[in-house]
């Protein structure tokens, strides 16, 4: 191999660069996002219903399918004029991001943004829909 030494040194430097993110973060715990659901409105509903999971559908379904659900709600309200959602537990809800979702989840920064930032998704809901006014504490 011509210039073998230089090539090997070059390769070693290259590999060190490329793998930098891996060994730099190795062993460090990556903080899982933990969206907070401790707003006064949610606590009130929890007290009312006497259970911890009080969102309109079970937690797993909300976690996995809220985006699909919001899409369905939007089409239902805007295009068909149907604005009452009967959840699987029989409760009725007004299908509205601003007036239903965010009335309970009034902590957008601690709730929505937690996961969205972690996953680097930027939903454009807030271009038009007004986010709840939060106290910066």
């Amino acid at each position: 191999m011509y210039n073998g030494g230089k090539i090997i040194i070059g390769l070693a430097i290259f590999m060190a660069f490329v793998t930098f993110p891996f060994y730099n973060n190795f062993g460090k715990a990556n903080a899982k996002p933990e969206p907070k659901t401790d707003t006064p409105a949610i606590k009130e509903v929890q007290a009312q219903l006497g259970k911890k999971e009080v969102c309109i559908e079970p937690k797993a379904a909300m976690k996995g399918e809220h985006m699909q659900m919001l899409n369905d709600w939007r089409d239902s309200v805007v295009r068909d004029g149907n604005r009452i959602y009967v959840a699987s537990d029989g409760r009725k809800h007004n299908m509205s991001l601003q007036n239903t979702c965010m009335k309970c989840h009034s902590n957008k920064k601690e709730f929505c943004d937690k996961c969205h930032n972690y996953m680097a998704v930027v939903p454009y809901c807030w271009d038009c829909h007004i986010a709840p006014k939060e106290n910066k504490s």
């Binding site: 559908e57 079970p58 399918e65 295009r79 004029g81 604005r83 009452i84 009967v86 829909h129």
Partner: protein, 265 residues
């Protein structure tokens, strides 16, 4: 090893049944339970077949009477005030007689008559030109006659603005948020790059309230169902002389105007 025709058909049949069965099993396992949910309209909603309005200009004596109407609409719908006519966004506004009813102008009419202000808004036409040209179906005709905007779908092509003969549509050239005096937190704003217009107060009708302009008009605007022959609006249109804007264009506007007041109607 060879199989005969009978064995082959048996194996094929069994594997088909298994295949279909497992697909169904996998699908049902994936289901999260959301399918059980249903949607329905609000029971408080005012049921009607065709949105309509009669605007009685004789009831609006002063400028303040008219301003109250614009203000009521624009404040609850987060309509921005951009402060210059080029960027203007408007849902309900004022035109002079000549611009409102260009077909009814005549050269000998008094200057006052031609300059008389009229309240104009989206006519929620029965055959809306804007709906026909929209490439994304962002604007569409609802079953209740409202010509609706789905801001989520609007791509800002402005075909609808070119098609609308009434200038009822406005384009958001910039982010409207900084120009909204006081945000109504119950209603969304719009964003840069979408077209907006009067949405017939669909959000108020859905919970049993009359449109905001009707409420603020002090009886000057009659709202009702054009398909209901016993409604106040139909009785008014049936008994008095009304005008519609540019009827010759065939868009069939649903907003009617009473011109002269009681004495010469």
């Amino acid at each position: 090893m060879s199989i005969n025709r009978r064995q082959f058909l048996k194996i094929a049949g069994i594997s088909t049944v298994l295949g279909l069965g497992s697909t169904a099993a996998i699908n049902s396992a994936k289901r999260s339970g959301l399918e059980a949910s249903t949607v329905s309209p609000d029971p408080a909603a005012i049921p009607f077949k065709r949105w309509g309005m009669v605007i009685d200009m004789s009831k609006f004596k002063t400028e303040d009477d008219r301003k109250k109407v614009y203000e009521a609409c624009h404040s609850i719908h987060n309509v921005p005030d951009l402060g210059n006519p080029k960027d203007e966004v408007k849902w309900i506004w004022e035109e002079k007689f000549g611009a409102t009813f260009p077909d009814n102008e005549n050269e000998f009419a008094s200057h006052e008559a031609m300059e008389k202000p009229f309240i104009v808004l989206c006519n929620h036409c029965a055959a809306p030109a804007c709906v026909r040209v929209c490439p994304t179906k962002a604007t569409f005709k609802r079953k209740d006659g409202i010509v609706m905007m789905d801001m989520h779908r609007c791509i800002g092509c402005r075909f609808c603005m070119a098609a609308c003969p009434f200038g009822a549509r406005s384009f958001n050239w910039k982010d409207p948020r900084p120009f909204i005096k006081k945000e109504n937190l119950e209603f969304p704003t719009r964003t840069k790059g979408v077209v907006e217009k009067c949405t017939g107060c669909y959000e108020r009708l859905a919970i049993g309230q009359k449109p905001a302009c009707v409420e603020a008009s002090n009886g000057g605007i009659i709202f009702g169902d054009l398909e209901d022959p016993n409604s106040e609006i139909r009785k008014t249109i049936g008994s008095r002389y009304t005008l519609r804007r540019k009827p010759a264009l065939g868009t069939e506007p649903s907003v009617y105007y009473l011109i002269g007041g009681n004495e010469n109607a």
